[in-house]
Subunit: 237 residues, 4 copies
C-alpha cells in the first residue's frame, strides 16, 4: 500500500540528519496521499540509521493505523490536523533544528530580512501564541496542530505561500507539495533563521526588505510569472 | 572484572569526541556497578584514539584502585562523590563542551526555554556557587562533587529528573542510568545550552515555557504515563 | 568555443559548495573572455552535483545566448552589467553565504577591522543603497548590477582594489582576475564578515585599523612592492 | 640539516588546517633548535597540501637563510624576534583563526573566564597596543615581534606561563616547548576565545575565576606539583 509514498517519506526522514536538522530522533517527516486520504509517517523513537520503508506507518485522517507494525510518531495528531486544515499540502516536516528552535523559544516571528527568505516564503514566518494549560493537558498534539492552523487563519496568511511556522516554546514545522518539498523548506527556514539572528545582532532595528522586493523575489520563483530554473517554475531540488 | 561495564565505559568515552563534546583529552566518562559498588573510569590524560577497554581503571567508593595499571582520571574523586550522593545513577560524563562551558563560565542556570529541554530535564539546569578558597586548596576534586550535590540538595532538585549541572567557572557534568545515558544527556545539554544562548540573544527577557508545558513534555517521555517511542518508555539511543 | 573558460567556470561553481558558501543552488560563478567579449555562466537552477562543462552557457555582452542548450542563470544581467562597468575583471561570483548575507540584510558596510581584510580589500566592503520600487519592477537584475556599479563610482572606490559588495537586503557579489580569483574573494569575504560580526559583538564601538596598517598589508600582497609568496606577487591559491 | 626539526615543523604546519585554524595559507609554524640557534620555518605562500619537509627553510637568528630553495614566510622576522626575546621557547604558530582574530580585532585581553583557560594559560591572554605609523612603515614584521615582547615585559607576564598573544588589529601568535606544543596552544586559544565570546554574550559583566582557582588548575598540570596525566606532568597530545 502506497509503496512509492513510503519510499518518499523514508527518504525525507533520512534527509533530516543529512542536512544537520536533527539530533538523535528529534524530528519526523510525513507524506499525504490526496486520493486515498491516507498519511504515511515515521514510527516513534526509531533512530534514522535503522529506518526502512516497510517500517513507515499508514494512518487515516481519523488517526487510525491502517498499516504498519510500529506505533506512529507521537506527533501524528499534529500532522493530521495540518493535512485537514491546509488543503493542498502533501508533506510535513517537524524538527528541533537549533536556529529555528531558538526563534520558537524567543516567541518571535521571523521578518523578511532578505531575498533568501523572499525566494520561498511570501511574508514573515509566524510564531504561534503560547498554548493554554487546557490545551496542554487535553489532546496536546492535536491542539498543537490547531494552534498552528489558527495562527494562519487569524492572520490571513496562506499556508501555501508561507509553508513554515514556529510553535511557541517548542520548535518549527514546515510543509510543502511533497515530503521532499517540506524538507527543502526546513532547510530554508534553518538558514534564514540563522541569518536573521545574525542580522539582528548587527542591526537590532533592522526592518526588513520592501514589499516590492519581497513580491519580486517570491514571484520570480513561484506562480505563473516565474522565470527561475530551466522550466520557469521553481525547482526545489 | 566488570568486563561489560569496562566496554560500556570505553564506548561512552569514545562517543565524546564523536559528538564533538571534547577537544584533546578534555573529558571523561565513568560507570558504576551497583552490586559490587565499584566504579570504572577512563585513565588520566590518555587520548581517545588510543583508549582500550583494558586500560579502564576500577576504583572502589573509597577511591582505592582495585584493578588497572594506569592512574585514573584526575576527576575521580568528583565522580565518586556523585555516585555516593546521588543513589540510582550508574554513569557520569564530564566534558568542557563549549556551549555548556560558556554557561558555567557565566555562572548562570539554564532556564527551561523550550520543549527540547523539557523532554529530558524536569526544570532548570542549575549552576553551582563558586567554590571557596578553602575548598580549592583542600581536596579540590572531592569538593567539586560536594558543591554539585549541595546545589541539588539545597534547592530540592532531584538529580534523577535533572541529570546535569554547570560547575561555576569550570564546565558541565551529566549523569544517567548508564554511561551511554550520561553521554546522551551531555549531548542534550550542549544542544539546549546552544539554543538557550541564541534564544537570549534574540529576546533577552525571555522567561521560558509554562509549568504545564514542562510537565507535559517531561512526563510524555518519563515515568508511568510515558507514551513516546515503541514501548511507551523513553528510548535514549 | 571557450572550452578552457568553460572548465574554469565549472570548477569555480563546484568550489562554492566545497567552501560551504552555498546551500542548494543559491549561487553562481561566471567568467569573461576579454578578447571575444563573451561571458560563460552557470545554467539556472541546476544543482552543483549534476553540472558539466558542456552545460555552461555562453552569452554576449548584449545578453544574447551564443552557445548552450540551457537557460543561463537568472542573475545573468547583473553579471553582464558588472563586466561592462568594471573593466579588468574576468570572473564574478554570487552567493548567499550566511555571514556576508547577514551584513547585506543589515545594510551595513564592513569596516577594515583587521589585517585579514586588509590583505585583500583596500578599504571597507560597501553595501549598496536599497533598490527603488521602479528598479525592482523594471529590469531588476540589470538594475542590481547598476546599483553595485553606482556604489563604487559615487564613492570613488576602485572595484579592482575592493573586489566585493553587499547588495542591500540581498547578498554578496565578489569578482577578480579570473573565476577562481572571484571564488577566493568570496571565501575571504565570508571569513571577514564572520570575524567582523564577532568583533562588533565583543566591542561595539570598534573603529578598525589605521590607514597605515591597511596600506601596509594591502601593498604587501598587491602591486609593484609586494613581497608575499614566492614571486613577490599575491598567490591566490 | 635539522631533518628531525624540519619534519616536526612540517607536521605542525599540516596540523593547522586539520584543526580548522587556517583558511588558505593564512598561518605558519616554526621550530627553533637551541643548540645551533637555527630556526626552521614554512616557505611563504605555499599551500598546505603541497608542503614537504624539504621545502622548509632554515634561517639563523640574524634572518639569513642558511638552507632552502624557497623564500621563508613573510612573518620570519616576527618569529625570530620572539625566539630572541623569549628564551626557552622552541616552537611558534601564527594563524588567523577566527575567534582569536576577533579578540585581536576588538583589541581586548582575554580574561581567565574558566578552568579550560587556567589549565594552560596562567593569567589573561594579553592584546598588544596598536602599532605606530613609524613601526608599520619601518621593519614591520620585526616591529610586530617587538610589540609582542614589549607587552609581556611591560606587564611582567611570563611568556612561558602565558604562551599566547593577540596582536592588535591583526591575529594571534602562540608558542611552546616544541612546534607541536605551539599548535596545541593555538587550539586552546581558539577554544577559549570562542567560549569567552559566548560567556560575555550571556553575562557582559562576568569577571572571571578567582586567583585560587586559576592557580589550582595551572599548577595541577604544570610545574613540580602537577598530578594530571600518567606522569604527573602535562601531556600535551
Amino acid at each position: 500500500m502506497l509503496e512509492l509514498l513510503k519510499q518518499e517519506v523514508l527518504e525525507a526522514n533520512l534527509a533530516l540528519p543529512r542536512h544537520e536538522l536533527v539530533t538523535f530522533t528529534w524530528g519526523n517527516a510525513s507524506g499525504f496521499d490526496e486520493e486515498s486520504k491516507l498519511m504515511v509517517i515515521k514510527p516513534s523513537g526509531v533512530s534514522y540509521d535503522e529506518l526502512t520503508a516497510e517500517q513507515m506507518v499508514v494512518v487515516n485522517l481519523d488517526g487510525r493505523t491502517v498499516e504498519g507494525e510500529l506505533r506512529p510518531s507521537s506527533d501524528t495528531p499534529t500532522h493530521l490536523e495540518l493535512y485537514r486544515r491546509f488543503p493542498g499540502i502533501a508533506g510535513i516536516v517537524h524538527t528541533h533544528s537549533p536556529w529555528a528552535t531558538s526563534w520558537s523559544q524567543a516567541g518571535m516571528d521571523l521578518p523578511v530580512f532578505g531575498t533568501t527568505h523572499a525566494d520561498y516564503f511570501n511574508g514573515a514566518v509566524p510564531c504561534t501564541r503560547p498554548m493554554t494549560a487546557a490545551e496542554i493537558s487535553g489532546d496536546y498534539e492535536l491542539a498543537t496542530g490547531n494552534v498552528i492552523a489558527e495562527t494562519f487563519e487569524a492572520n490571513g496568511i496562506s499556508p501555501l505561500e508561507v509553508p513554515a511556522v514556529f510553535v511557541h516554546g517548542h520548535a518549527p514545522f514546515t510543509w510543502g507539495a511533497s515530503p521532499a518539498d517540506a524538507v527543502y523548506h526546513a532547510v530554508v527556514l534553518e538558514e534564514t533563521a540563522k541569518m536573521g539572528s545574525r542580522t539582528k545582532a548587527l542591526q537590532p532595528d533592522v526592518s526588513g526588505i520592501s514589499p516590492e522586493l519581497l513580491n519580486k523575489h517570491f514571484s520570480r520563483k513561484h506562480g505563473s510569472h516565474a522565470y527561475y530554473g530551466q522550466t520557469g517554475k521553481e525547482e526545489s531540488r
